[in-house]
């Protein structure tokens, strides 16, 4: 509830900060009352003709059901009548049940009162730009048990072409004392809404040593991400969680602060920093959400040592459950799908798919593997090394030779970076191509993905949200001599180095997750089940 108040007005934050500075340990009700009082003080200073409506409001509070009726005459003069009018309607819907059991639901009542006050404020203050976002978060909280209409703010990293968003980001980073990373090179016009960084200019060059704002484990992690040393969805998440464990170990609660709130605030600049080094993946996003939730659920009377131990334990459990055990479960299901004499095609280096193949080989299944690789990352070579070390019979080709090699293949196993809510599979660029050609040759395509990578976003093409890697990677060719060395000097030449692409669900035959084998279209069902659990 405290979080709900923050995006609605900078005044709230100031109030809370003031209250903190006063050194009081306020409960949530007290804080709300404080806010209410301060708002009223401001109100009385600005417009004296609103007092009658204020007084009528105060009368309304004990009889909350009567609130909509007197409010409506104040609203028609305002131009926001059509937007504000539907807003009071859900208010009585929630207020009537709250009025019925008043003593138990006092919080909901206070919320409703606060909302009613907001409406009156808006009506009286005249034209203000932030009615829209205020109305929107006001509505979804009214029916808390139903499906929440998700009105998310668009993430910054897909709005690079919007100068206001960039300015906001710059201000936020300045406040958190994190350097801003600048884009590099000529960006293809289709992707002008995404960042494009150069590997030769890592963010850490702009940080002073020692950096007091960012924990050194996080700085190291950021550098590893931006240079591609730690790559791959699982690897990045695990590295992130280990770094956070280090941060928690080194953390001490400052006096007069609560661990649950201060630690979350401490993590925010780290996350911004990591985001600047390399945009966060869906799995990392889910891991961060989990950690934040665990931290904010720490009861305030918990001692610091115990709280830290609990958090470290939680993180270990998360890694164990969601990654290690999930891999075991997925391997168990997948081995049923591998028969003797199979020729399995894999693409790039997916830790999960490699694990499955190694397990299947240990269980004495007879199969051979074809590893498909693509420039410029050439991750398939890493997968090839691991499989050859195990003793699996392997073939290696580049992605342009896929239609030559596919007639020999009996199954295709692909890894995923994230599974989107509309059934699309987001994975390394080239995966959708392999699925397309496999479909044309009628070869079954199986995607292996842990449930913690499931994501609530929806996407239909690879343009709106993607990652652009360093374009200079395309220049290096094997023979050493390159044609594109001076591509920057040629004005009409652009290089595009995409990292991800989305595969439509009709190309995918089966998704193997730790919950079982599901079709691609069942992803929103799993998400819903997970949300209900949490």
């Amino acid at each position: 509830m405290a979080d709900a108040g923050e995006p609605e007005g900078p005044e709230r934050k100031d109030d809370i900060v003031k209250a903190k500075q006063e050194g009081k340990e306020l409960t949530k009700e007290e804080k709300q009352r404080l806010r209410k009082e301060k708002k009223q003080q401001k109100k009385s200073k600005e417009k004296k003709d609103d007092k009658p409506s204020r007084d009528s409001e105060k009368e309304k509070k004990p009889a909350s059901a009567a609130s909509p009726a007197p409010q409506t005459p104040t609203q028609p003069p305002a131009q926001k009548a059509p937007s504000a009018a539907p807003a009071p309607v859900p208010v009585p819907a929630s207020e009537t049940p709250s009025a019925a059991d008043k003593p138990a639901k006092s919080k909901a009542e206070l919320k409703a009162e606060r909302r009613a006050r907001q409406e009156a404020e808006r009506a009286s203050k005249g034209k203000k730009g932030d009615v829209g976002p205020q109305a929107a978060p006001g509505k979804p909280k009214a029916p808390p048990s139903e499906l929440q209409p998700v009105v998310k703010r668009l993430p910054e990293h897909v709005q690079v072409d919007n100068p206001e968003v960039l300015k906001k980001l710059a201000k936020k980073l300045e406040r958190q004392q994190i350097p801003l990373r600048s884009d590099y090179g000529y960006k293809v016009s289709l992707f002008s809404h995404l960042h494009q960084y150069s590997r030769k200019a890592p963010l850490t060059q702009q940080l002073g040593i020692p950096s007091t704002v960012i924990h050194p484990a996080i700085v190291r992690l950021g550098l590893q991400y931006s240079q591609g040393i730690v790559a791959g969805s699982n690897a990045r998440s695990v590295a992130l969680l280990h770094a956070f464990k280090q941060v928690i170990r080194d953390y001490t609660t400052p006096p007069n602060e609560e661990l649950s709130r201060d630690l979350v605030n401490r993590l925010k600049p780290y996350i911004s920093f990591l985001n600047q080094c390399r945009p966060l993946s869906a799995s990392m996003g889910n891991a961060i959400k989990y950690i934040k939730k665990e931290i904010s659920n720490i009861p305030s009377q918990c001692k610091e040592e115990e709280a830290k131990r609990k958090l470290l334990n939680c993180i270990d459990c998360y890694i164990n459950e969601k990654i290690v055990l999930a891999a075991k479960a997925i391997a168990k299901y997948s081995i049923e799908k591998i028969s003797d004499g199979d020729v399995i095609l894999v693409y790039g280096c997916s830790s999960l798919v490699n694990h499955i193949l190694c397990e299947a080989f240990e269980k004495n299944r007879k199969f051979r593997v074809i590893v498909v690789d693509s420039r410029p990352r050439l991750e398939g070579r890493e997968a090839l090394r691991r499989l050859v070390q195990k003793g699996i019979n392997c073939t290696y080709v580049l992605i342009s030779a896929v239609s030559y090699i596919l007639p020999e293949v009996s199954k295709v196993f692909l890894g995923a970076h994230a599974l989107l809510a509309n059934g699309y599979v987001m994975s390394r660029v080239g995966t959708s191509q392999i699925a397309l050609v496999a479909k044309a040759f009628n070869v079954p395509v199986l995607v292996c993905c842990e449930t913690y990578k499931f994501c609530e976003r929806v996407q239909t093409d690879s343009f709106v949200s993607n990652e652009l890697d360093d374009p200079d990677d395309l220049i290096v060719t094997r023979t050493g001599t390159t044609q594109l060395e001076h591509w920057q000097e040629v004005p009409s030449l652009g290089l595009l180095n995409l990292v991800y692409d989305v595969t439509p669900p009709d190309f995918v035959d089966l998704v193997i997750t730790d919950l079982g084998m599901i079709p691609c279209t069942s992803v929103p069902v799993v998400l819903r089940v997970k949300n209900v659990d949490q």
Partner: protein
């Protein structure tokens, strides 16, 4: 004596040509364009016609067939050599028929009626000597050479009919025909080109630099991103190494994927191929269809510890079935893939399909 000298000179030239074919096709140096090969083959055939000893059309055809077999054996994947030889053989047949006075049309067409009435073996044995045959044949070969020289320009002239402004065109690898096509259209229209680099030789890079120097907005993408960007592409224009008898293509590695992606998005696939690339082969001969180059292009020797335990393939060509192709643009105009068989019957005589 001029005779033996000319002959040794001729054999030297033939040997030099064979050596060139053998070396040039290994993928080492810059791959020579098909147009050059076609021109050189035709020039060599003209020289053979002029300098070799023959008395009747049959002899000449025998000589050319023998040399032709050696040339195709030197580089089986270079089908333009075989195509030119068949063209010249057809020219010889036509000139012979004209000299004999019979009309060309009736003899060439294989109709069901003719099969039933004529009773099988034709009475053509090409043994009659004609004095005017040699200069006629040489003149016809000269015409063929002029036609070959103009193919790229003829195709490029049709560019404006197919490209409108603000289009996004996709291509793969490097084709001189497509390059000329796009540059010609760029003189009047503004459009954007996406070039897939076509690993491992990355010829797309050369294509991109050349197009961008002509002022066309070009983007280079990796082969893996073909399907990802296809949704924004309006047309796919590619070149090919060979056009097969069923209307399919034998094109550079990665073209089949490109064609499948275009089909999925219902994007038209246009192939710019001059007539000399049309070959009477069918794609069924698996062992002669594919050509492989050294796998160290794919997995270099620096990966030594796994190299010995792994099979690595580096095919050069891809087969694209005719269902995925929308249009062929050749120097004589545009055709649907289903019309290719007809064009072939006009270019080559059925008895020459097997050299």
């Amino acid at each position: 004596m001029p005779g033996p000298d000319k002959e040794t000179d001729l054999t030297e030239r033939i040997e030099a040509f064979l050596f060139d074919l053998n070396r040039g096709g290994s993928g080492a140096g810059p791959l020579r364009g098909s147009a050059e090969t076609a021109r050189e083959t035709t020039a060599l055939l003209r020289r053979i016609t002029a300098q070799a000893r023959w008395s009747s059309a049959g002899d000449l055809m025998e000589i050319i067939r023998n040399e032709g077999r050696r040339m195709t054996a030197a580089q089986p994947s270079e089908t333009t050599v075989g195509n030119m030889i068949r063209r010249v053989l057809k020219i010889i047949r036509e000139e012979y028929a004209r000299s004999r006075g019979s009309s060309e049309e009736a003899d060439q067409q294989e109709s069901l009626h003719k099969l039933l009435t004529s009773g099988g073996v034709s009475d053509e044995n090409f043994r009659q000597p004609f004095a005017a045959l040699k200069p006629n044949v040489i003149e016809a070969i000269n015409e063929l050479l002029t036609e070959l020289e103009g193919t790229t320009d003829n195709i490029a002239m049709q560019a404006l009919e197919h490209i409108h402004s603000n289009e996004v065109i996709m291509t793969i690898g490097r084709s001189r025909t497509v390059e000329a096509f796009l540059k010609d259209a760029a003189r009047k229209r503004k459009f954007h080109v996406i070039v897939a680099e076509c690993a491992p030789f990355c010829q797309g890079h050369e294509m991109a630099t050349s197009l961008s120097k002509a002022g066309i907005e070009t983007t280079v993408i990796t082969d893996a991103a073909i399907f990802a960007v296809m949704s924004r592409v309006n047309k796919v224009i590619i070149g090919t190494q060979t056009v097969l008898a069923n209307g399919g293509l034998r094109a550079v590695n990665g073209t089949h994927t490109l064609a499948l992606a275009a089909k999925h998005h219902s994007t038209p696939l246009i192939v710019c191929a001059p007539m000399f690339k049309l070959s009477p082969q069918f794609p069924n001969e698996e062992d002669t269809f594919h050509k492989f180059v050294s796998p160290h292009e794919v997995l270099p020797f620096t990966e030594g510890e796994i190299l010995s335990k792994v099979n690595v393939h580096c095919p050069v060509f891809d087969y694209v079935p005719p269902e995925l192709i929308t249009l062929f643009i050749s120097n004589i105009g545009g055709h649907a893939p289903s019309y290719i068989y007809r064009l072939m019957s006009e270019l080559y005589h059925p008895e020459d399909h097997e050299l």
